[in-house]
Every structure is written in C-alpha cells, then in structure tokens.
C-alpha cells in the first residue's frame, strides 16, 4: 500500500471540505496576541505592585487575588472554543500576613520581577532558568510552572508574551517545514527521527506542508512505533505529533497552529481507556487549568480516529489483550460523561457508554495481538480510507 493509491484520502478530503466550511475560523485571537504590547504587560505588572504599595500606605495587608484555575465552576463550554474561563470567576486570595501563604506571595512577587525584567530587556528565559535562579525560594520546578500560569491568567497575557519559555516535551514528524523565530529551518520530513516541538510556537513562520491530515498520538511508545514502521511515508503526506501523554502547552499550541495554518483534519489516536479519552479532550476542548487561554489552545475540530471501544469488538481483539476497568477508570469515565462538551458529541458518548457496558479497556498496542504490523499496515490505513473516525 502506498500513499499514491487512489482513494486513500477521499474521505479525508471530504472531511476537510466540510470542516473548512463549517468550523469558524478565529483570526482575532492572533491579532489579540499581537495587540498586547510589551508596554501593556509592564503596565499590568506595575498595577499589581502599585496595589501592594497602596495597601501598605493605608496600613492594610496586601493581598493578591489569583483566578481559581482548578474549579469546574469557573469554566463554561462553547462548542466553537471549548472550555473557557468565565469572566466573573472565583479567586483565591493570597495573603501576605499569613504564615501559610506568605511564601507563595513572595514567590509570585519574585516571578513578577523576573518577568518584568525579561519583557523590559526583550530577553527570554525558560521556567527551568527561573527555578534554578532561586531554588531555595521556589522549592520545586512545579511551583514555578504553576505560578507562571497563575500570573499568565491573572494578567490575561499568554505565557509566551511574558517572555517565559518552556522546554517542550512533544515530538513531531512528517510533511512539514518551517522557520523558527531565530531563522533556524526545521524540516520534519526525516522518516526515522522526530523533531522536538518548538518552545517558541508564536515565533514560527513560513510553514510549508502538503499534509492531508495531522494525527495526534497519545503515547510516545506508539509514536515511535509509527516512526519505526515508516507510517509518514506510507500515508504520505501527513504529520504526526505526540505530547507524550498529557500534552504541555507548546504541543497544544503546535496542534492549534497547524490547524490555523493548514486547515486540515486533525485526528487523535489514543488508547481505548478513560485516560486516553481525557487526553484527547484536552487537545480538543482544553483543560480547566488553562481555560483562560482556550482561544489559542483548543482545536474543537479534532476527530477520534482510534482506538475506539467499538473497534475492539469489530476487530475481535483477543480477550487476553483486553484489561478490565478499575474503579478509578469507572469513576473517570462517569466524570467524562458528565462533562459539558460530551453532549455535543453523541458518537463519543456512545463509544464511552459501550466501554462502560463491556467494562474493558485496551491500549493501542493490543492491536499487535492480531498481527505485529496491524496498526500501521491495516488498522490506520483502513480507518483513514473508509472514514472510520467519530
């Protein structure tokens, strides 16, 4: 089978036409990002500092109000955008006069200062740099990561506009070339090796690709398997990308960027288990934690290519390759079914209800029980050829 076989992309091309007609494109969000100038960012930080000084001038305890990024009550669902933060969301108050919260207050102020200087000097630092500059204050990398996102949400400025970069964990491969901000040319067409997702997605330009589709792969193991099996050659032209599990912001931004630039179908290849479905939902609808930046991160047009629970029955995957659902899986599945975005996805609901009924899950690797090369040579090509996505 080769990519030039007639009819392989017929369904995909149809889907693409449909998507381009139906899905609203939002160029405004791009403009929004450009409109937040460095001067505005500095001004927003200065307002926070002035607030602290004003409180102290009145002999009042300074308090920082951080939008609550972990509460479902603070997000609402829009089918065109995904999960987005409500305008009047609840806040968490960080007090400077409480021993339990004063350290966090200090950590936030420190990062404000770092960001202020980065933006002012037009230089960049990674979150790792920030952590290692003051490990005693921050305690862990996770603290820095969380506070940077809190500040991004508080100031309503994307993290990359704060000049704080994150080392990407995602990988990409396939029919794609682009230029990084510093002029470096990136070619993802090497069949056997993948390219790390850029840490400066906003700076990417001159994207060139004739890919018919993008496939998001949940796990690194599956991604590597596809690389080893020359998937991108066999199903050329295409792009595959992985966030290695729960995707980081850069991987999500990259998927979004590909959609905005190429307007081609985006498919998800995840394990047939609640965790995999949740990861797919993050790409498609976003997460509660990053809902304040949903416009830039979500791709509502993502389609579920596989592994579907109905595939397990249809393909008669051997029983010993199937795993019973744990209590945790059941709870996760029930929680997913209650999410606001599932109501607009009846086919996804059906698949998840089937999983609830059969009480089994399976990894993509379970297809190897049918045949070693089943995934790359049979399953995926047939799925793509015959429109086996939901």
């Amino acid at each position: 089978m080769g990519s030039c076989e007639a009819g392989l992309f017929t369904e995909i091309d149809k889907l693409r036409a449909e998507l381009v007609n139906n899905v609203e494109v939002m160029p405004g969000c791009q403009r929004d990002e450009e409109e937040i100038t460095y001067r505005e960012i500095l001004s927003r930080i200065e307002n926070v500092i002035l607030g602290i000084v004003t409180s102290l001038s009145k002999d009042e305890n300074p308090v920082l109000a951080l939008p609550n990024r972990s509460s479902w009550a603070n997000v609402s669902f829009d089918s065109a955008i995904g999960l987005q933060m409500n305008s009047g969301s609840s806040v968490t108050s960080i007090r400077s006069d409480s021993p339990s919260s004063v350290r966090k207050f200090a950590q936030i102020l420190k990062i404000f200062l770092v960001i202020y200087k980065l933006v002012q000097s037009n230089s960049y630092a990674t979150k790792r740099d920030i952590y290692y500059n003051n490990t005693q204050l921050f305690g862990s990398q996770k603290t820095v990561d969380s506070i940077v996102d809190d500040i991004s949400c508080m100031l309503k400025v994307p993290r990359r506009s704060l000049h704080v970069m994150a080392t990407s964990k995602g990988l990409i491969s396939g029919d794609l070339c682009y230029l990084e901000e510093d002029g470096t040319r990136v070619d993802c067409r090497s069949g056997s090796a993948a390219v790390a997702v850029s840490s400066n997605i906003g700076g990417i330009r001159n994207i060139v690709s004739s890919a018919k589709f993008v496939m998001i792969v949940e796990k690194d193991a599956t991604f590597q398997r596809l690389l080893d099996d020359d998937f991108c050659e066999k199903l050329s032209p295409c792009i595959i990308i992985t966030g290695k599990g729960v995707p980081d912001v850069n991987s999500r931004l990259m998927v979004r960027k590909l959609w905005d630039t190429l307007h081609i179908p985006i498919f998800a290849l995840v394990d047939a288990d609640p965790h995999g479905i949740e990861i797919m939902c993050i790409y498609k609808y976003g997460s509660v934690a990053m809902s304040f930046e949903a416009h830039n991160l979500t791709v509502p047009s993502v389609m579920w290519l596989g592994l579907l629970p109905s595939d397990l029955q249809r393909l008669r995957v051997p029983e010993d390759a199937l795993i019973p659902l744990t209590k945790r899986d059941e709870n996760k599945l029930s929680s997913l079914l209650k999410r606001p975005y599932l109501t607009s996805q009846p086919d996804w609901q059906k698949e998840m209800e089937l999983m609830q009924q059969t009480q089994v899950k399976a990894e993509i690797q379970s297809l190897a029980a049918i045949a070693p090369d089943f995934l790359t040579n049979i399953y995926l090509p047939n799925k793509l050829r015959y429109g086996g996505w939901v």
Partner: protein
C-alpha cells in the same frame, strides 16, 4: 508565720468552739438569697494586744495572704482595713476579670486572670485582651512523707498545675513573644523560701524546653502575692538591626499549684484546719518526697507554653524571610520602571521622596501590618467585656 500560731489557735478556739464542716449550700438557694439580700459578707475583725509583733510586717503578711487568697477566690471582694496607732491602711481587693477553672475532684475555682500590662500604642481600642486564659494541667498524685505521717497527715494528696500566660496575645497570631518570667505559687498556701523551688532550675531540662537557662530570683510583691520567681535567660540577638525593629512581646507565666488533700476520716473543721497546718508545715518535705513527679509536671506545663512561643518564632521567621523577597521585588520593579506616573504614584502613596525612603517605609509598614494582624476571638477579654467580666471555662490547651 510560726510565731503567729498561738494567736491563730486562740482565734480559732474562740470563734469555732465546736464546729464541723456543713454541706455546701445549694447554689440555687444561694442565688435566691443573694438576689433578695445582696452578696454574702463575712466580717473578720481582730485586735492585737501583743506588742511584740512588728505591725508593718504583720500588715504586709496579711495583705500577702489576702492577695494569694484573692487570686484563687476571685469572686470574693475583700476590704482590708488595718489600724495602727492613729494611722489606717485600707485596701480593696476586687478582681476585674475572672475565669472559672474546673479542677479534678475539687469544686471549681474562680481565678483572677486580670492582666495589668498596658497595650502598645499601635493597638486599637477594644482590641486588647485584658485577661488571661488559664490552662489546666494534669493531676499529679503525691506520696506523703513518713515524717508527716508520723504527725498525723494521712489520706490522699495531689497537686494540679494551672498556667496563666500574660499578657494574652492570642488575637495577634503573628506577634513574636518572649517568656521573661515564670512565677510559681500555691493557690492556697504562701510559700516560704523553699529549697525545692530554689533548686528547681537545676532539675528542669532547659535544653528540651529550648531555653538558655532559668534563674531563681526570690521575689515578694504585694500586688502579685509571694511565690518563686524565675527569670528566663534570653537568646542573644544575632542581628542588631533586627533587634530594634522586631521586639517581641514580653510575657510572664504564672503557674498555680492547687494542692488537694482528702481523708475520709477528717470530717471536723478542726481536723481540716489541723491538716492544712500540717501540709503547710511539711510542704517542703512533701515536694522533696515527690521531686521527680512534681518536676516532670512542671516541665510538661512549661513545655506546652513554650511550644506555642516556638511556633510563633517559626512563623515570624517565615514572615520575615518572605517579607524580604516581597519588598526587594516590589522596590526593584519601581526602581527599574521608566513609567513616571507609576513611580510617582508609589512615592506619593507612601509620602516619600525617593526609592530609598520608599524601601524603608514599605518595610516598616509591612512589618507593622503583619506583626499586628488582629484576629478577634470571642474568648478574649477585650474592652467590650469590661461590663460583664464573667468567667469562661478554662480549656485544656488554650495558648
């Protein structure tokens, strides 16, 4: 005191020729009586003919006794009038703030928990606790030394400590505190100079308590009644700059020891009084005979008190180190900014001229708002409680 014994014996015999303790009156009946006729009054008046006694010293001793009595019987208002030649000494002992202490196997006691420490100037009206919150310790059984038994002291003896930290700063959780003095006294006895208490610092584990040392300083104060007073040795301050701006609130700990004796064969008032005399006489022996258990009880109470102080110290350190970062970050942003409006607004807010003064001013303000953070507590005796200075139940742990 021993010299007064014959006088007291005469007094007792003339007042109570044949008396036995009567059952306690029913509180409801008592209330009904006092509602109609007012508070019960007891007038005890006696005239000394024997001029051997130093009247001034006698007056001081009576006053000291009444002070001790009043501390643990705070509901009783006492009026002392002492006439010598043509001169009269008068004093009213009325307790402003009281607290009920429920002791094991004893009737409840009403303690005087009034604190005389004046609040600092920065404290707003109605935001200072004028009393204390007694903390009841565990009861410690005592063995009666053979010497005392030979003299007729039998039955069961026990001691129960009650601590009172003063002034109360529970409403100021961020305020650093420093224990400077510990006063130990018996609630129902006046302690004569006692080797047990003089040697107590040597038997306490100061290291475990986190103290540099305890020094005994015998001290008689007519206001506070006699007792053993210890000075707590303080840790030398590492940062002289810090010393001036972050002076901790000095506190003193009052440790009351309630001694309880019970003997089912003692039912006459005269027996009870004789027992009291015996206990007082052999108090030193009783304490020495139970040195380990009494010292351990005192160590426990001190440890509990100091635990709270140490916690405050750790919190202070957290606040202080975080404050440095908060201030340095804020000042850096102001200093780096090219936004004139922003800089001017910051300087004008704090009414300073430059960022150097701004730094000092912000530091002082932050220190003030965090150290004096006020968290009102219903249990504290703030100004509005003055009209109703009634007791509230003591808690097991209230520091």
């Amino acid at each position: 005191m021993e010299a007064l014994q014959p006088v007291l014996t005469d007094l007792k015999e003339s007042m109570f020729p044949c008396m036995w303790p009567s059952p306690q009156p029913d509180p409801e009946e008592l209330c009904a009586f006092t509602d109609l006729y007012g508070s019960l009054r007891l007038l005890l008046s006696f005239q000394m003919k024997d001029e051997r006694f130093n009247s001034t010293e006698l007056c001081a001793r009576i006053e000291a006794f009444l002070d001790t009595f009043s501390l643990a019987n705070a509901k009783i208002n006492i009026h002392l009038k002492f006439k010598l030649n043509q001169q009269t000494f008068q004093r009213d002992l009325r307790v402003k703030i009281k607290s009920t202490v429920v002791l094991a196997n004893q009737p409840s006691r009403i303690l005087d928990v009034t604190c005389s420490t004046q609040p600092p100037e920065c404290v707003k009206k109605g935001c200072w606790c004028q009393g204390g919150h007694p903390v009841i310790g565990g009861m410690v059984p005592l063995s009666i030394p053979p010497k005392a038994m030979d003299q007729g002291l039998f039955g069961e003896l026990s001691i129960q400590p009650v601590t009172l930290l003063s002034p109360c700063v529970l409403q100021y959780p961020n305020l650093a505190t420093q224990l400077t003095h510990i006063k130990i006294s018996f609630a129902n006895f006046i302690i004569s100079p006692s080797t047990f208490f003089q040697n107590l610092p040597a038997h306490l584990d100061c290291q475990e308590l986190g103290l540099h040392g305890l020094h005994c300083s015998s001290f008689k104060d007519h206001v506070h009644s006699s007792g053993m007073v210890y000075t707590v040795e303080q840790e030398p301050c590492k940062d002289p700059e810090q010393e001036s701006s972050l002076l901790p609130m000095q506190q003193s700990l009052r440790l009351y020891l309630f001694l309880q004796h019970s003997d089912p064969f003692n039912c006459h008032l005269s027996d009870l009084m004789a027992t009291e005399v015996l206990i007082e006489h052999y108090l030193e022996d009783i304490l020495n005979n139970n040195r380990q258990s009494v010292t351990k009880a005192l160590q426990t109470e001190l440890q509990n008190t100091l635990k709270a102080q140490n916690r405050r110290k750790k919190d202070q350190e957290k606040l202080r180190s975080a404050a440095e970062v908060i201030l340095s970050s804020s000042i850096s942003v102001v200093s780096c900014s090219s936004n004139v409006d922003f800089r001017t607004a910051c300087l004008n807010s704090m009414k300073v001229r430059d960022t150097h003064d701004l730094s000092a001013s912000l530091r002082e303000s932050l220190r003030r708002v965090t150290s004096w953070k006020f968290t009102p507590r219903d249990r504290c005796h703030s100004a509005q409680m003055e009209e109703h200075p009634e007791s509230d139940d003591a808690t097991r742990r209230e520091i």
